[in-house]
């Protein structure tokens, strides 16, 4: 027994020393790969929340990968956001209900399989079917027969949607349940990607290493740590990758990713942490991108609460909107990574797409007018309003407190507004879906496709899927319906803008600011840009 303890410690020490020498030299830092056209770009990543399937990916991290390995019927221009034909030869309709889609020839998946009309129809039927638990299933909701494969309760009554029919290898027809003239423009969303037969034959194998038809193929995928994508040399499209490949590295914290970038171990960070915004110019100089993305943040109201749904209260809501000093908050709290909002859409739509200063004076800070309007609107229900937000992610506390300060200052009442933190995002969402919000709450909307329709209909149409405040106005609904039926795009946009006018007069939600995409990159790479979804345009990055 005497020497036992010593032996133990000695053994432990030796084990550590041995392990240390054995594992030494395993340095895979640095960008890796050579330079020039075959250079590999390393980029920060976070583990996708859901399994990586086109119709099941609804967040940016998984979306990044899909954007590299898939090409759909349409693709959104990285600069303008306009929907342009990709695999679609043409999409024709005469009545905005029946569409005939022609798929281009010569496209294959990276495993050699041809991309045909069936690849799309099968993928969409899979995505819509309730038994596959696809979180993007509602995107197929306009197609006839969706309610059969995805009933609100119970089991699916059909396996495929009756509105989808394969005509031949290159053609298929789609029948919608309502007029939707801009429906083809929604097809650039990754949920509408085609799927190869291997997806259905060996689902688990496909999930471990997804196969698509985009400019990159997945070389290796170590869940939770790293994904290596390499350029697919036989890619038939015109937007071939300008680099040898992309390595996505999972970081535990975006601060660490940023530190790694400044130390020269990483090429691209597409989410500069808020705490580093002050240093970013000094650290990377002009290799910092900060431009508006298709994301808007608003304050929603609980219209289901009788206290917040009385006639005349639109003046109260308008007054509150005028009591928020957007300019100051975006400059001091957000370091100009937000742009004060002037409507309910986003600048990425451009003027032709429907972006226009519709909010006008109601989105400008005016303390005196704000106080007057709030009083005319009957004052704040209960004397104090609570702005709810989730406290776990996104540093919402800072800006909610700032908004409340601004409101309190404008109204000359220190008790007018307080923040109401909710522990987790899940609980926050839970209280929203159960209509239990005690007052206004933070809301954010990241567009699915750059269409004015996507900023208005899902959020403010009566009974719409993401109408969390249960806003409802017959005039608004009517204008949206008219706009969807209008085949002339310019006229449709104008109708949507009129609907936005209704929203303004009611102040159905207070627009706060547009969120910018922010990215920083190393001097090893060039030609880095963010698309309107604030995702880097990976295939155009060049390695020096």
């Amino acid at each position: 027994m005497r020497g036992a303890t010593h032996a133990k410690w000695a053994a432990l020490a030796t084990a550590v020393a041995l392990a240390a020498t054995a594992c030494g030299g395993g340095d895979d830092g640095g960008g890796g790969g050579g330079g020039g056209a075959d250079g590999i770009v390393s980029s920060s990543w976070t583990d996708p929340q859901n399994p990586l399937e086109p119709a099941n990916t609804n967040e940016v991290q998984g979306g990044k990968v899909l954007d590299m390995i898939f090409r759909g019927l349409k693709r959104y221009n990285a600069k303008t956001g306009a929907a342009e034909d990709m695999l679609a030869e043409k999409i024709v309709t005469t009545d905005s209900i029946n569409f005939t889609v022609t798929v281009k020839t010569g496209w294959t998946f990276s495993n050699g399989e041809k991309v045909t009309a069936k690849s799309f129809v099968d993928a969409w039927n899979y995505g819509a079917n309730l038994k596959n638990n696809q979180k993007n299933a509602p995107f197929f909701g306009y197609i006839e027969g969706y309610d059969q494969v995805h009933p609100e309760s119970g089991q699916p009554k059909a396996q495929t949607m009756s509105g989808l029919k394969v005509v031949d290898d290159q053609n298929f027809t789609v029948k919608l349940t309502q007029k939707f003239s801009t429906w083809p423009d929604t097809l650039g969303y990754s949920a509408f990607s085609p799927l190869p037969q291997s997806f259905f034959d060996d689902h688990a194998g496909w999930l471990a290493k997804p196969v698509g038809n985009g400019p990159y193929t997945i070389q290796s995928y170590a869940k939770g740590s790293q994904m290596e994508l390499t350029r697919w040399n036989d890619y038939p499209g015109t937007d071939k990758a300008q680099n040898g490949g992309i390595t996505l590295k999972v970081y535990t914290d975006n601060n660490t990713a940023y530190t790694d970038l400044t130390a020269g171990n990483l090429d691209l960070v597409d989410d500069v942490p808020a705490s580093q915004l002050k240093n970013v110019s000094a650290d990377v100089g002009d290799r910092y991108i900060n431009e508006p993305a298709g994301i808007i943040q608003t304050l929603s109201f609980p219209f289901y609460d009788p206290a917040w749904n009385k006639p005349g209260q639109e003046k109260l809501r308008q007054g509150l909107s005028m009591a928020i000093d957007r300019q100051q908050i975006t400059e001091t709290i957000f370091q100009k990574t937000r742009t004060p909002a002037v409507d309910w859409t986003s600048p990425v739509l451009g003027e032709d797409g429907g972006f226009k200063d519709i909010c006008g004076e109601f989105c400008k800070y005016d303390a005196a007018e704000a106080k007057k309007l709030v009083a005319e609107g009957g004052g704040i229900p209960g004397g104090t309003m609570k702005i709810s937000y989730n406290a776990d992610t996104g540093s919402h506390k800072e800006w909610v407190d700032a908004v409340c300060n601004s409101i309190n200052k404008a109204l000359g009442n220190t008790k007018a507004c307080v923040g109401n933190p909710i522990g987790t995002f899940a609980d926050f969402r839970n209280q929203i879906t159960e209509s239990k919000m005690p007052g206004p709450f933070r809301a954010g909307w990241q567009m699915d496709y750059p269409l004015i329709q996507n900023f208005l209909q899902p959020l403010y149409y009566t009974g719409a899927s993401s109408n969390d405040g249960k806003y409802s106005d017959p005039d608004f609904d009517k204008l949206v319906n008219q706009a969807n039926a209008e085949t002339d795009t310019a006229k449709a946009v104008e109708l949507f803008q009129q609907a936005e006018g209704v929203l303004r007069d009611d102040m159905g939600a207070i627009p706060l600011w547009y969120q910018n995409g922010s990215a920083a990159y190393s001097d090893r790479v060039e030609n880095v840009a963010l698309n309107p979804f604030s995702v880097p345009v990976y295939n155009e990055i060049k390695v020096k």
Binding site: T5, L12, A13, V16, A19, A20, C23, G24, G25, G26, D27, D28, G29, D47, P48, Q49, N50, L130, N133, K135, A137, P138, H150, E152, S153, L207, A222, K223, G224, S225, V250, Y251, T252, D253, N255, T256, A257, T259, D260, T262, A263, N265, L266, D392, T393, T424, F425, A426, D427, R429, N430, I432, T433, A443, G444, W445, Q446, S465, S466, D468
Partner: protein, 307 residues
């Protein structure tokens, strides 16, 4: 001794069930996890219901707990929301954290005990005051501050280490994070050893050993240190569990994909299966470490005997 071990192992059973039940309840009061899965939009109700059914979230909590525990005994820890089995996540995370913990414990033992012995034998001298002051500084600075400063200086400014540990997390990359993780405990170990040594220095058996004419080295290592180590071993034993669970901060700063990171992800995404699974294993580690500590007492001090 055998009977003592069996009694201790039996005592672990209620502790194990109690701890896992508490975690289960705590995660459940955080609300419906499915609601957070669809981002800033409402989940489609039919899909949400389907998912709830698949993860067993539509049943009452007690039933979920029973099913869960039943599965755990067959080695099935369930599936995380991203479709990965929790056992797979554990297989990735635990080896990394165990390596990190070994590095940290190694520093605690080697540096902590050495400094403790040196200062304990030289109480009041400049060395003692100096080390005491240093440990005070280490104790008063939070780990995340130490971590970030070390990362900035060694990783970015001087370029000695890579600021982020690679996904394989080999031991040599874990030395600096391990030192940061160990820092606070290391200071405690130093102070504990110092006090204990200083106290026992005047004990009868030390005087006897010295009077017998034993060499100073032997007196210190065999007689003085051995008896002084009991509180230190208790502390280090309890620290194993604390280090594994408490590595969240260090792992986040240095990009280590270990237990702390998985737990953090599990909590943020409210993945009950991940959180409960990892905590269950941590509870086991904690209980076993405590048992080993208790058994080590007998080795260190033969007067302590277990019936």
């Amino acid at each position: 001794m055998g009977r003592y071990v069996i009694r201790r192992l039996l005592q672990m059973i209620p502790v194990f069930f109690g701890a896992t039940l508490l975690i289960f309840l705590m995660v459940n009061v955080m609300g419906d996890p499915i609601a957070g899965l669809c981002g800033d939009r409402a989940c489609d109700p039919a899909t949400a219901a389907q998912l709830r059914k698949e993860f067993g979230l539509d049943k009452p909590v007690w039933q979920q707990y029973l099913t869960y525990m039943g599965n755990v005994f067959t080695g099935d820890f369930g599936t995380a929301f991203n479709g990965q089995p929790v056992t797979e996540l554990m297989g990735q995370a635990f080896p990394v954290t165990i390596r990190l913990t070994i590095v940290a414990i190694f520093f605690e033992i080697v540096i902590g005990i050495t400094l403790g012995v040196v200062t304990g034998l030289r109480r009041g001298r400049p060395v003692d005051t100096g080390v005491l002051l240093m440990t005070l500084v280490v104790l008063s600075v939070p780990t995340f501050v130490t971590g970030l400063i070390v990362q900035l200086l060694l990783g970015v400014k001087w370029g000695w280490i890579s600021p982020a540990v690679s996904s394989d997390a080999p031991i040599d990359e874990l030395i600096v994070p391990g030192l940061v993780l160990a820092s606070v405990s290391l200071a405690y170990v130093t102070r504990l050893t110092r006090t204990s040594i200083a106290e026992n220095k005047r004990a009868d058996y030390v005087r006897t050993a010295t009077a017998k004419g034993l060499p100073r080295r032997r007196v210190i290592t065999r007689h003085l240190l051995r008896n002084s180590l009991i509180p230190v071993v208790t502390f280090i034993g309890a620290d194993i569990g604390a280090l594994m669970g408490g590595a969240i901060v260090t792992e986040r700063i240095f990009n280590i994909h270990g237990v702390g990171y998985q737990l953090y992800q599990g909590i943020v995404r409210q993945s009950t299966q991940t959180v409960v699974g990892f905590v269950t294993v941590l509870v086991l580690v904690f209980l076993l470490a405590n048992l080993i500590v208790d058994l080590l007492y007998a080795v260190l001090d033969p007067r302590i005997r277990y019936a």
